[in-house]
Symmetry: C2
Subunit: 110 residues, 2 copies
DNA sequence: GCATTATGCAACCACAAGGTTGCATGTCAA
DNA sequence: TTGACATGCAACCTTGTGGTTGCATAATGC
């Protein structure tokens, strides 16, 4: 799995919205995903292609329709492999930051 | 905290590298963070500004130096508020996806 | 067959993003 | 004070990104 592709795919609010929709209801067609969005069908197609390239969305052909499914595995992998690294020593880092910020010439209370 | 700013900040590999460096050692100056990077000082400055705007990096003035500290809170918030949503029903979604993909006209074993 | 429907492909456009260079500002130390 | 050092600011350039429109292709139903 390509970490950069996943982060890049998650960086856009429209794509996160699409993931939300697929999270609520899987197996939606392109047309269904377009409904209610202030965006052309082709724009949605591009977003889905990016999500697909990042392996965040799996597709399935059903005749002339293309059904989309959310694939939570890369998100899980990101959380496990990358975010956890910053979470684990969170309290230590916070304490350290606090110590640093308060221990120095910290006069203005803001 | 601005979810979009955090995701956007995390989308760039150079910025994730900077976070990694600050994770390894906090309180580094701009000059220290530039060492070994194939990028001008000004490029790093811009990246740090984006990380700062997303509240992922906290800074502290020390005379003519500017010390940078990692702030893991927004990353933690993202993991809690956004990623957990996709992780929780992960097994369900995976099972559902598997069922869908295998239950239909799925002939090629690949 | 043939019109309709669902999606794919390609060209195009505006703008933001990452990067650079050049110079200004501010701080330290002798 | 003055030179050196650390950072800030601004203009500029190139590429990538999100978006559009127009047309092509493929499946469905009558």
């Amino acid at each position: 799995m390509n970490e950069d592709a996943v982060f890049h795919a998650l960086a856009d609010a429209s794509r996160r919205e699409l993931l939300d929709r697929l999270h609520r209801r899987g197996g939606q067609t392109l047309g269904a995903l377009c409904e209610g969005l202030a965006m052309s069908r082709q724009a949605v197609t591009k977003h889905l292609a990016i999500l697909e390239a990042a392996n965040l969305v799996a597709t399935e052909r059903r005749g002339r329709e293309k059904l989309h499914h959310l694939n939570p595995v890369p998100i899980h992998a990101i959380a496990e492999r990358w975010i956890a690294k910053f979470q684990r020593p969170q309290l230590d880092a916070l304490a350290d930051l606090k110590r640093t910020l308060e221990g120095e010439e910290h006069d203005r209370p803001e």
